[in-house]
């Protein structure tokens, strides 16, 4: 019998102390190169990109492991899945891949070296989906390391993730038995505008809207039959939007029946793919503010099965389990969303909580 884990945080963001520290994990040729700083160029937060009190004495918030642990694990979290960001989409494919490789080496060395039954961190293998061959190699390089429990790619892309050029990457993830997480990347790269109607002028619009962007990839993966090809493939949409899943998926259901003849390889009603193939991390910048409305909305979205608690520590929208549980989740849904869904997804067997 699997022990029930303590609260699992499905997404937290460690970072190097200073942007250039990443070079220590790169080969000699790459050390001579220049690449974006970690901070997001567009839409700086009006106050701070980071939650109050998370900045260590030296270095960026999220760079001091001791502080990270003491703050994050204070409120009942027992295990945290680390998802470092990778400076935006690089027009130089190899540079983008090297940033991913260096990030993985750094994560393994600094954050995952003592993973075991007592290890409280797990990590994500960052790969560059615009370099499918390189991504496959990188997944294979780390897939046997017990600390890595998923692959991670940016939300921003030049083509949605159902398109055929990405298939080798997802295939490698499937062979390694790893889910693929999708999260908005910071930094400065050659991303397309963050909305389908161009650039908002303010951070607040960006912040309000981008949590809907997961659907571009989810609808693409379904429409191109990726889940039909790879029955064990799982995606984790790690950047909010969990409360909008069904609203968008119902539209996909409607259209699927109307244009089945164009994509006959999509065998099932689109919502049928969710349980086996998709999970969604919560954010405290969404969800109703009323307890009864929340209970109804969990039901509408199959939240008890599809949602995962995530802290997003130490970003400005950092939410402790207490903060995200306000209004309160019904008890059974809480158990699943804050513990069991992530434990099942990531194969976590940790001690029974006190």
């Amino acid at each position: 019998m699997t022990d029930v884990a303590g609260i699992v945080d499905a997404c937290a963001h460690p970072i190097v102390q200073r942007g250039d520290d990443l070079k220590a994990y790169m080969g000699e040729v790459w050390k001579q190169r220049f690449f974006p700083a970690p901070e997001r160029y567009l839409y700086p937060h009006p106050v701070s990109d980071f939650a109050p009190g998370t900045r260590p004495e030296e270095g960026a918030p999220g760079s001091d492991r001791a502080l990270f642990e003491s703050q994050l694990f204070a409120g009942g979290i027992e295990t945290a899945i680390l998802l470092p960001l990778t400076r935006g989409l690089s027009p130089d494919i190899d540079l983008g891949s090297e940033i991913c490789s260096a990030t993985n080496r750094w994560l393994a060395e600094v954050w995952l070296e003592d993973t075991g039954a007592d290890g409280r961190f797990r990590g994500s293998i960052r790969v560059n989906p615009h370099d499918p061959e390189g991504a496959v190699k990188e997944i294979r390089r780390w897939s046997d390391h017990p600390g890595f429990v998923q692959v991670a790619v940016p939300m921003e892309a030049h083509a949605p993730y159902g398109k055929r050029q990405y298939l080798p990457v997802w295939q490698a993830a499937v062979e390694a038995g790893l889910p693929v997480a999708v999260h908005t990347d910071d930094g400065a790269g050659v991303e397309f505008p963050p909305s389908p109607v161009g650039y908002f002028r303010h951070h607040i619009e960006y912040s309000s809207f981008v949590s809907f962007n997961f659907f571009y990839h989810l609808s693409s993966l379904i429409a191109e039959g990726v889940f039909d090809r790879m029955p064990t493939l799982k995606f984790v949409f790690a950047d909010g939007g969990a409360d909008s899943v069904m609203a968008f998926m119902w539209r996909l259901n409607d259209h699927w029946r109307a244009v089945r003849h164009e994509q006959p390889w999509v065998k099932h009603l689109p919502t049928e793919y969710l349980r086996d193939h998709a999970r969604f991390c919560l954010s405290r910048m969404e969800l109703p503010e009323d307890e009864e409305a929340l209970a109804r909305w969990i039901d509408v979205n199959d939240g008890a099965n599809l949602w995962l608690y995530a802290s997003n520590y130490p970003h400005w929208s950092y939410a402790t389990p207490q903060q995200l549980n306000e209004p309160a989740f019904p008890a059974e849904a809480f158990e699943r969303v804050f513990r069991q869904n992530a434990a099942d997804l990531y194969g976590l067997t940790t001690s029974v909580p006190a």
Binding site: G225, D228, R257, A258, R260, H261, W265, K267, L269, E272
Partner: protein, 122 residues
């Protein structure tokens, strides 16, 4: 409810691929000739109530491999004129899941006359 038989058409008037909508029942009944056999479907789509039998008689695609499909069952498929749902004419069921069913009626040929058997009492 007693059964009645309604004349649909002379066999020469309903060639393979044709349909005739007979004003029977609440919404009408479409009588189709599929390869020389006759099938009658209620003219009401179970999705949103469109006049189903005014849709297109066609074939369908079948996926052989991802991104590869074949064209099959030409003349056996009816696409709803509104949302394009595909129905297999011979069985009245949708091609897509979850399966929806259109009510069907028996069709009888006596000599050169095609007759529809309905359950309506008029």
């Amino acid at each position: 409810m007693s059964k009645r038989r309604v004349v649909v058409a002379h066999v020469d008037e309903l060639a393979p691929g044709d349909v005739k909508i007979v004003p029977e029942g609440k919404f009408g009944v479409g009588v189709f000739n599929v390869g020389g056999e006759y099938f009658a479907l209620t003219n009401y789509c179970p999705h949103r109530g469109a006049p189903l039998c005014r849709g297109k008689v066609t074939g369908m695609t079948e996926a052989t491999d991802p991104y590869e499909c074949a064209w099959v069952r030409e003349g056996e498929i009816l696409r709803c004129p509104w949302h394009g749902w595909e129905f297999a004419i011979k069985s009245g069921t949708t091609v897509t899941e979850p399966k929806r069913q259109v009510k069907m009626y028996p069709v009888i040929v006596e000599g050169d006359t095609i007759l529809l058997e309905t359950g309506d009492v008029r």
